[in-house]
Symmetry: C2
């Protein structure tokens, strides 16, 4: 068992696209747990678009990662040694432990994972973790699609979008995904069971008109940019948008303007942003609901697994450009 | 009693500012009521920003006025002759009877006004009518200010804004108006009892920072344009905007872009448009609540009364430029 702890630190704040030059590797001895702490061997690290915000020191809902500090991120891992009564060696846990191989974490900062048969522990970073819970909140609390409504979700092959569309489908909506490229679109309508999927690399306006001939009732916004510009004028009366993220714009400085908002009056639209952290009860709700759906074969997910912590910076840059296919995780 | 009916017809659809050249006067004989109809002598005509939309044939929530047809508008008037069992001569009524002096209206299209002591019947076009009801919905249903929150409303000396701010004040909010010019601002803080009022003709950003040092929780949007651009970045976390109208942009073609919407995620904002017509029960609610507040001296209103139907086109053009001071009505 390695006695060193490889860590990825934030070296510089990117203006535009982040790349390996903004990160720095460091090694330190494997930490020793103090009383109340648990030594965790990280097995999977989650890479998510929100991390782009943590690299910037612009005002936001969360403090930025300090220069020289380990990058923030959620991990799942195995307990190797426990000095906390709630954990024993061999437990699987989840926690915001950062881009590193090991950590000594106070037990109160870790969640013990259920022993779920047939699901990789990495699922607790994706379909049953933060992205799945995000999809659950945006769909069931913010958008609230009604049977027969047209529900559109961007980044539909991704960690959040794929779950959001499946939940909306279970709620009776007609679900249209937006994804980049024919292969992702086939996956979204095939494996994920959406009613249609349009490729944002083609003529998006025409494709949306064909896929949503009566207009769009609900839009789960993950990307912004040209996709948002195409969806917005197609919203129907009483349409709503759940703003989860706008990943296509995260590297754009300054941020581009948005749509004229008079349509909100004419069509009585509701536009609402949300963050998973504001909804602590939703984690447990979705954890149970999502596990049931998985067990019953009514929820599908796909992971894009990158091997080795040293490859995380480049994989993260690709995530912001849509180069991943499914939930992006790093296997350590 | 005049035997002719002066009417103002829509002559042409304006591109930009509407003026007298887009209207046309016509005279016809005073109409005779048929069985079930009521002959109404119009006493006041309401002029409201939404009428700009009716002059355009762009897609909207309501059909445009046809070229050559009488302009749409709400009136209050006196019943002169009734062939409907629900009305008798001398009753005061309100109805969407258009820019004309007389009409023969089916009884089902009219609302009989209560005999309210001490309020001009024109109040049923403003503080107790559509604008007051609009303020009630936007404030109590869409924005829902909590005690101590900072509530900002534009066009604060106008028909809707003035009532919205007073309702928010009764709900315990700290209320800041935005109005054009020192005289209107003095009126808003004096007569209307707002906590502060900032002049959008000055340095609006600095004035808002001073009036709302912790930021803005609720914004009742009536104007759009530069005012919206100054308010938007000052919204606090969990802030919301009720979109009632954007009168500063109604003559702008094409419509200018709006703000980048990533702030909706970062601050968990809610932006929601509404129309009074979608809330039929609110009319009665506000009719009763507003009358009680008026009677108790807890609600103030101001009218800007223009004499003569022939002056309606120019007065309407001025309304879109903020030249009125209080609810604009035409006395016929």
């Amino acid at each position: 068992m390695s006695s060193t702890n490889l860590r990825i630190l934030l070296k510089a704040r990117p203006q535009g696209r982040p790349g390996p030059e903004h990160f720095q590797r460091a090694e330190e001895p494997r930490p020793a747990p103090q009383q109340g702490e648990v030594l965790v061997r990280h097995r999977f690290l989650s890479l998510d678009p929100y991390m782009r915000g943590r690299m910037s020191d612009a005002p936001s809902y969360a403090a930025p990662v300090a220069l020289g500090a380990v990058m923030e991120g959620e991990c799942v891992g195995e307990v190797v040694e426990s000095r906390h009564p709630g954990f024993t060696a061999g437990d699987w846990v989840r926690g915001a432990r950062g881009w590193q191989q090991w950590s000594a974490a106070h037990g109160s900062t870790l969640v013990k994972l259920p022993r779920q048969v047939g699901v990789s522990p990495s699922a607790y970073l994706g379909v049953l973790g933060m992205p799945g819970t995000t999809a659950w909140i945006g769909t069931t609390e913010i958008l609230q699609p009604r049977p027969g409504e047209c529900f559109v979700v961007s980044a539909a092959s991704g960690a959040v979008g794929g779950v959001a569309g499946q939940i909306a489908k279970h709620m009776g909506a007609r679900v249209v995904g937006i994804a980049g490229g024919a292969e992702k679109c086939r996956f979204v309508t095939g494996e994920r069971g959406f009613d249609a999927c349009v490729d944002h690399r083609g003529d998006l306006a025409t494709a949306l008109d064909e896929a949503c001939p009566s207009g769009i009732d609900c839009y789960f916004e993950n990307v912004g940019g040209a996709v948002q510009a195409a969806v917005f004028p197609r919203l129907r009366e009483f349409g709503r948008i759940a703003f989860c993220g706008m990943v296509a714009e995260y590297n754009q400085i300054p941020a581009p303007p948005g749509p004229n908002l008079m349509a909100l009056v004419r069509k009585r639209l509701r536009l609402q942003g949300f963050l998973v952290n504001d909804h602590p009860r939703a984690w447990k709700q979705w954890g149970e609901t999502g596990a049931t759906l998985l067990r019953d074969g009514r929820l599908r997910f796909r992971e894009d697994v990158v091997q080795g912590l040293e490859n995380a910076p480049e994989a993260f840059a690709g995530l912001l450009e849509g180069r991943n296919f499914g939930k992006l995780v790093v296997a350590l």
